[in-house]
């Protein structure tokens, strides 16, 4: 597997090259494909988390020793996940086990692509409720929570200290901190406002007091993105870029990968990032050791602003003929030993509620604010199979980009997006 390198001036190709190398490295590293009949194919998502090959080599070796079944893990970039899975279904080349982002699980479960696991003995109460909820559809269970990921703010503690800045505790302080950084650090991006990172947008909708969409008693969905509350957050977040100049023009095209690289390349001073990012940043730039820290997203006036509780479920594909072995592999990865090791190696939180606390206590102090975020201020997306389409059409991305590009006002963009979300969620 290719390790991410520190490219000072080439953020986009860096990601591309990493992905290409990753794909080729995995292709040649598999081996043992001839015995496909008794082997499992597993798709694992890849994006802003640290290098995972070592973990899977050990986990798979342990599984093969225990069961005699060979496992071939393939890494899929997050942004290609949905298309690749749809294409695989069409071509009949689905893997046996797939890691699905919690927002994608209901859509594929609803389509009948995933094997119903409710027949097996699963204690669904032990998992983080918000994650488990995304794996359920009707009476069926279509995914088992593997890990939770949460986004807070990662910042350069050395730069904060140098300029005597404190961790902000509300929006206004965040704005003041960001503008102070922009003034004090010439040539540095104080607080990137990315255009292609929807989970960095969602907290502001919630923080202002809005909901992405609320189900009405009659079963229809109404979006609150275009309410005064929803708009307040979007206005504030995009305003940081457009009025306060804390971001950079190019950030309109940034995904979370580029945001992470901007911190790793020492180009940005603070940014909204996930709990697995600090480790990946230090892996790519060890010189930042001891110079980065994190804080929980501050609330509008006080307290904390909710952040998107992401995470992944492991699902078994329907109709592969290997469902039994695949389920064993899911249990293997979500079991005590390997779920804890996974968390320790990546910085993602375990999917089992009891383990979150155990992990938080032993983990790197930099993960503390993320644990607070997960426990006290986390939120999910609307639970409906149609949500998958909202993400596939990149509606929130389109909204954020049109505002940042100056093509639409906050009012126009939020009104359009709210209408589109309602159209899709209401089956239009």
């Amino acid at each position: 597997m290719a390790r991410r390198r520190t490219h000072k001036y080439v953020p986009l190709p860096a990601a591309a090259v990493a992905l290409v190398l990753a794909a080729t490295a995995c292709g040649s590293g598999g081996g043992g494909d001839g015995s496909a009949a008794d082997g499992l194919t597993v798709w694992i998502m890849q994006g802003t988390n640290p290098d995972e090959t070592g973990f899977f080599e050990e986990a798979n070796a342990a599984f093969t020793e225990e069961t005699g079944v060979e496992v071939d893990v393939e890494f899929i970039p997050w942004q290609d996940a949905q298309n690749k899975i749809s294409t695989a279904i069409a071509g009949g080349t689905t893997p046996d086990v797939v890691e699905l982002g919690n927002t994608l699980t209901p859509g594929f479960a609803d389509a009948g692509a995933l094997h119903d696991l409710s027949g097996y003995d699963i204690d669904t109460d032990q998992y983080i409720p918000g994650l488990m909820e995304m794996g359920r559809l009707g009476d069926g269970v279509y995914g088992v929570p593997w890990y939770a990921s949460i986004r807070s703010v990662v910042y350069r503690s050395d730069i904060f200290e140098e300029h005597g800045l404190e961790v902000p505790e509300n929006w206004e302080e965040l704005r003041e901190t960001a503008t102070a950084l922009a003034e004090a650090e010439d040539g540095m991006i104080a607080f990137p406002v990315p255009g292609d990172a929807q989970y960095s947008v969602m907290p502001w909708i919630w923080g202002g007091g809005g909901e992405i969409a609320v189900e009405q008693p009659d079963g229809t969905w109404v979006s609150e993105i275009d309410t005064p509350e929803g708009r307040a957050g979007i206005e504030f977040f995009t305003g940081l870029a457009l009025e306060d100049g804390t971001s950079t023009t190019g950030a309109v095209n940034w995904t979370e990968i580029e945001v992470m690289e901007s911190i790793a390349n020492e180009e940005a001073a603070m940014a909204i990032l996930g709990s697995a990012n600090p480790k990946a940043i230090l892996e790519s730039n060890p010189e930042l050791e001891g110079r980065i820290d994190s804080f929980t997203l501050p609330g509008r006036e006080e307290g904390y602003m909710p952040s998107f509780a992401g995470g992944s479920l492991l699902s078994v594909f329907e109709g592969t003929g290997n469902e039994e072995a695949a389920w064993q592999y899911v249990q293997h990865l979500t079991g005590d030993e390997f779920s804890m090791r996974w968390s320790e190696e990546t910085g993602f939180f375990p999917g089992v509620t009891a383990k979150v606390e155990e992990f938080s206590e032993s983990a790197d102090p930099i993960l503390g604010p993320f644990a607070v975020q997960l426990n006290e201020a986390s939120r999910g997306v609307p639970v409906t199979p149609a949500w998958t389409q909202v993400e596939a059409e990149k509606l929130l991305v389109g909204m954020q980009q049109s505002i940042l590009n100056g093509e639409a006002s906050v009012d126009e963009a939020t009104a359009d997006t709210a209408a589109e979300i309602e159209r899709i969620l209401n089956g239009g």
């Binding site: 001036y9 953020p11 859509g107 009948g112 292609d196 023009t249 309109v252 059409e393 980009q401 590009n405």
Partner: protein
């Protein structure tokens, strides 16, 4: 009889997918149907939805057609100019230049696109830095990927860069068959370079131009990677999609395979019409040579 193997291959490789797309375009086909394999016939519903969608007429169709016209013209002109240059060179320099343009030809679309995106990177790209240091661009930069015209200008650069070598090499092959006496005679009659090209070279090479134009048109109508991989090129409602990318986004993003297939059928019909029109126009005067 001798045609039978070829026809079988064509039938399997071309007609089956074509027929399948046509069949799909009359069906209500979503992710669920992909799993079950069963679907309902819904007549022309997909086509009605497609043709009444303002996005088709205001964005996708305009992007596809205007881009193809500009890109084909530019590719042919640049390719022909390079071919004319090559035809005047002696063996060794010609070999050097041909090798250089082969590199452009050999560049895979995906890598090529990432290189262009990198060149035009908003913050640190070569172009942005050059313009900034010349004082032509505000240091805060400009997001060209958000501007439809700029976006397609970059796509055009990318596609022309990848497409002109084919035209250059093909036209060069044609140029070498033009009898030198014709040029000599024209020169004696006092014809300048332009007149010699237009009245001697072009008529002789008409079939060559017909082939490269038709092929370039087909390629430029259906560019995909060069748009999809650009920032904003994969966002559902953005102004940047062409018919091909839109078809993909509808099919595999929105999981509406029926409508995606209808878009693909529309694109195919459009290409057929344009190709027939071209061939007739190019061969109208003196028939097939």
């Amino acid at each position: 009889m001798l045609l039978a193997p070829a026809l079988t291959v064509i039938g399997l490789l071309l007609l089956f997918p074509l027929g399948r797309i046509l069949w799909l375009s009359f069906r209500d086909f979503k992710l669920r149907n992909l799993m079950s394999g069963e679907s309902d016939f819904i007549g022309l519903d997909n086509y009605v939805a497609l043709l009444t969608d303002p996005y088709l007429w205001q964005v996708a169709m305009v992007n596809t057609v205007v881009f193809a016209v500009v890109a084909v013209l530019t590719t042919i002109v640049v390719g022909t100019l390079v071919a004319l240059l090559l035809s005047t060179l002696s063996t060794v320099p010609r070999l050097v230049v041909v090798s250089c343009i082969m590199v452009a030809w050999a560049m895979p679309a995906v890598s090529g696109t990432y290189v262009w995106v990198w060149i035009f990177d908003v913050d640190n790209g070569v172009v942005a830095q050059a313009l900034t240091s010349l004082g032509l661009l505000d240091p805060s930069g400009h997001n060209w990927f958000a501007d439809r015209l700029f976006f397609y200008a970059i796509v055009t650069l990318n596609v022309v860069h990848g497409g002109f070598p084919f035209v250059a090499v093909t036209v060069l092959a044609g140029l070498l068959t033009v009898p030198a006496e014709l040029h000599e005679a024209a020169r004696i009659d006092g014809a300048g370079a332009w007149k010699r090209f237009w009245h001697v070279t072009f008529p002789v090479l008409r079939p060559v131009f017909a082939v490269v134009t038709v092929l370039s048109t087909i390629w430029d109508f259906k560019v995909f990677a060069q748009i999809y991989l650009m920032p904003g090129g994969d966002v559902g409602g953005s102004d940047m999609l062409n018919l091909g990318v839109w078809s993909y986004v509808r099919s595999f993003g929105h999981n509406d395979y029926g409508l995606g297939a209808a878009i693909a059928v529309l694109l195919t019909l459009l290409l057929l019409v344009v190709t027939v029109f071209y061939l007739r126009a190019l061969f109208r005067e003196d028939g097939l040579r």
